[in-house]
């Protein structure tokens, strides 16, 4: 990373200088603002260009199965019920009851109060239980409430926590506050994996997305995630590009591997495949794994299944042939 390296190897883990950057609000600001800028036009052109890759036959079959394995099947509605969550869990375990070769999804993602239901429904299937926490989606609550929210979810059996950052604090430049909050949630969430939601639609600029990505990674995120799904725009290809560049550079600087989750707005298999092309060409094969890349989605799964069936039968299928849970 230009800023990272040329600013005196601030992030070398051996020397402990990474923690120096997070020592104070001003050093953190200096570090984050020392990251190279993102040229909007150039980043969008690069993402669009990768979006024109033509993924056919064997490559498409590979991508569809991989995408299914990367889905965090999500329901985050006020109207959610245990019944809805049980149905969703069944779908995550066996997305296509007609085809035993179809892989399971990565996780089911629910609100904390429904974690226990999901845990029970998923049993030993290997499908993870993810829970949003920290006063999702706005994050507007006291830290103690956020931590309690997190602990409730973990105690109920969540092995992945999707937290939101305080966008207000981030946008007003109180980076240390954001950082310390992530660190605190990180501790409260153990042993679960922590995904940090940046809500890129509210950050607006790619420069902010890059800075927030680094901030979250430095605070110990296992994953950085685009969006809550409640704000538009959510996951877009250029945003994913910038986040992938961040995890790539973070590994170069620290040796640590952080995953990326694209959430919100990805509804078609075609979109999902474009994301996988980005992963493939920006960060490479190490991230082509459900432990490193996820899709937060609900309707995406059925489109993936439909395309998968089309590859197998040669016919276009229809929505009536897939379950609606």
């Amino acid at each position: 990373m230009l800023g990272a390296m040329s600013a005196g190897a601030v992030v070398s883990p051996q020397t402990g200088r990474l923690s120096e950057a997070t020592g104070s609000d001003s050093s953190l600001r200096r570090f984050l603002h020392g990251l190279p800028g993102v040229d909007q036009v150039g980043a969008e052109a690069r993402a669009a260009s990768l979006g024109t890759r033509s993924i056919k036959t064997t490559a498409k079959a590979f991508a569809l199965d991989l995408a299914i394995r990367m889905v965090d099947l999500t329901t985050l509605e006020g109207a959610d019920t245990p019944g809805k969550v049980r149905a969703l869990s069944a779908k995550a375990v066996r997305p296509d009851p007609a085809d035993p070769s179809c892989p399971a999804a990565a996780a089911v993602c629910v609100y904390p109060d429904l974690v226990a239901t999901a845990r029970e429904a998923l049993g030993s299937s290997g499908v993870h239980v993810a829970s949003v926490a920290t006063a999702f989606p706005s994050g507007r609550a006291a830290l103690s409430v956020k931590l309690a929210d997190t602990r409730t979810a973990v105690e109920a059996g969540a092995d992945e926590i999707d937290m939101v950052i305080d966008r207000g604090a981030f946008l007003s430049g109180r980076y240390l506050e954001v950082y310390e909050e992530i660190v605190a949630v990180r501790e409260a969430a153990r042993p679960a994996h922590l995904k940090v939601i940046l809500e890129t639609g509210e950050l607006q600029t790619y420069d902010s997305v890059r800075r927030a990505s680094w901030l979250a990674m430095m605070a110990g995120a296992d994953f950085i995630k685009t969006s809550t799904g409640k704000v538009q725009p959510a996951a877009t290809l250029p945003v994913i590009l910038v986040m992938l560049e961040a995890v790539r550079d973070f590994r170069l600087a620290t040796g640590q591997v952080v995953g990326v989750k694209a959430a919100g707005g990805i509804r078609t298999a075609k979109d999902a495949v474009k994301h996988l092309v980005l992963v493939n060409e920006v960060v490479g094969r190490d991230w082509l794994d459900p432990d490193r890349f996820r899709f937060g989605a609900s309707s995406l799964l059925n489109d993936l299944l439909m395309q998968r069936t089309r590859m197998a039968t040669g016919r276009y299928s229809g929505p009536d042939y897939f379950t609606v849970d």
């Binding site: 993102v38 052109a45 024109t52 033509s54 993924i55 056919k56 082509l288």
Partner: protein, 491 residues
């Protein structure tokens, strides 16, 4: 057609190997032989001579093409003269405009066909012919169509700007259809008629364009296409009844044209070689700069007169930029031009490949460090891997001569003054790139660079509204924009 494989140069893709995604060549109907397009019809050359055009990716023969002699060129110029006097120059601009709009629309409608043909004959990746060459060619006609009835606004101080007459136009092989559009659209808009000679290695899209002129019912003789090599071009340029010469190609040929037209009334524009500097400051948007460097030198296999063939990078970030550039280069996909995922296609000809090889060997001998990503090149056809030379100094031939291939020379600088000084230290002056997040620095550098086009935080951008052309030995005259009209008007 022999199979051409396309593979990633490196091994980063791992489990996600892209299956071949070839564009079907069935969409284009290539005839076994083509005549010359003179006076609205395809006619055989008088002496019956022809030559073969091949696919540089496979060396397969695509078609036989007429080899125009001086006599054929004379017939074409006569046809153009007749069309000029009898029809085109007297037609209201409004009506000329509508012909050009028609051509623009047909180019859009037949875009797939044109893209496949261009990639077959030239060797460029289909994604470039599909997304750049063909749409831009249509856009060029669309833009200049709009000028045809507005010429009095184009040149301030003129009431009714007059065309020059017959334009003799000679174009290169790197962007066959696009260069044709750059030449023909403004010429016709201004009321000139043309005789155009495409390059001998890439005549096919120009011949398909001739069919498009027929489809558009363009009056006979307004556009004439004569195929052939250097002799044909010389006959055209030196023809007494040609009023205007427009040439795009090498500086060497450009110089000989300038010599040949000396003392005549012919108006001349020349679009020649370059050795562009792409300057990366330490405050550049780095990821986008890497893309700009890659696009600058590997777009169209580096067969671009304005290619960013000299990377000037600030020393404080040089190591990091190189590391990132190399990593990025391992993801470039070299191979079958018709595969939709190919980034780098075939070198256009055996001659060009020999030249690239020769200069690359000189680079090594002169002590520069040569690097290419691991990469399986097809066994048939003409191929050269994307290549970077590091530790290059201004004295090296690879820093001074135009290689016209996928070969980048990397030099470093310490201060903005030094960057500009090195960038300008060349007899060429076509284009330059500047990468910085600081606006005032970009404008400062742009102001001092002796180049006809300066791209800031981008590279290799073209638009019909934007004038293009060089300083010094990169030629004179501008193509594109309002300025591009002046080359075809008596003003």
């Amino acid at each position: 057609m022999a199979e051409v494989s396309t593979g990633s140069t490196g091994s980063t893709s791992g489990g996600f190997e892209y299956a071949p995604a070839p564009e079907s060549r069935a969409v284009v109907d290539i005839k076994s032989s083509y005549g010359l397009f003179i006076g609205g019809e395809f006619v055989d050359p008088r002496d019956g001579r022809s030559f073969k055009t091949i696919s540089p990716a496979t060396e397969e023969v695509l078609a036989e093409v007429g080899d125009a002699s001086a006599e054929d060129v004379d017939l074409a110029v006569q046809a153009a003269r007749r069309a000029h006097t009898r029809v085109w120059a007297t037609m209201p601009g409004r009506e000329r405009a509508k012909y050009l709009f028609r051509i623009a629309r047909i180019l859009q409608e037949r875009s797939r066909e044109l893209a496949v043909l261009e990639s077959l004959d030239n060797g460029k990746p289909i994604k470039e012919s599909r997304d750049v060459d063909v749409p831009l060619a249509a856009q060029w006609f669309f833009y200049y169509a709009g000028w045809a009835d507005k010429l009095e606004y184009a040149v301030p101080g003129t009431v009714a700007p007059a065309p020059l007459g017959v334009a003799g136009q000679v174009i290169p092989w790197n962007f066959p259809l696009l260069m044709l559009a750059w030449k023909i659209a403004p010429a016709l808009a201004c009321g000139n008629t043309v005789v155009l000679k495409p390059a001998e290695t890439t005549p096919l899209s120009a011949l398909l364009f001739a069919e498009i002129c027929q489809q558009a019912e363009l009056p006979a003789g307004v556009v004439n296409i004569v195929t052939g090599a250097g002799d044909t071009g010389r006959a055209l340029v030196e023809h007494d009844d040609v009023d205007k010469v427009a040439f795009t190609g090498s500086t060497e040929v450009g110089r000989s044209i300038a010599r040949a037209v000396a003392g005549t009334r012919k108006k001349v524009t020349l679009e020649l070689g370059g050795k562009a500097a792409n300057i990366v400051f330490d405050d550049a948007p780095l990821d986008e700069a890497i893309e700009g460097i890659v696009n600058g030198i590997f777009f169209n296999q580096g067969h671009v007169c304005c290619a960013g063939s000299r990377l000037l990078v600030q020393e404080s970030v040089a190591e990091e930029v190189l590391e990132r550039l190399k990593r990025r280069m391992t993801t470039l996909r070299v191979g079958d031009p018709l595969d939709k995922n190919t980034d780098i296609g075939a070198i256009n000809s055996a001659t060009q490949l020999a030249k690239i090889r020769e200069l690359s060997e000189v680079g090594e001998r002169e002590g520069a460090g040569r690097w290419s990503p691991p990469c399986d090149l097809p066994s048939h056809g003409f191929w050269f891997p994307p290549t970077v030379f590091t530790g290059v100094s201004q004295a090296h031939r690879i820093a001074r001569e135009e290689i016209f291939g996928p070969v980048l020379s990397v030099l470093t600088f310490r201060t903005p003054d030094e960057a500009v000084e090195k960038a300008n230290n060349t007899p060429f002056g076509l284009s330059a790139g500047v990468w910085s997040e600081k606006g005032s620095r970009i404008l400062w550098a742009a102001g001092r660079l002796r180049a006809g086009v300066v791209w800031a935080n981008t590279f290799n951008k073209f638009d019909p509204a934007s004038p293009f052309g060089g300083y010094q030995e990169s030629g004179y005259g501008r193509e594109g924009g309002r300025h591009g009209l002046e080359a075809y008007l008596a003003v």
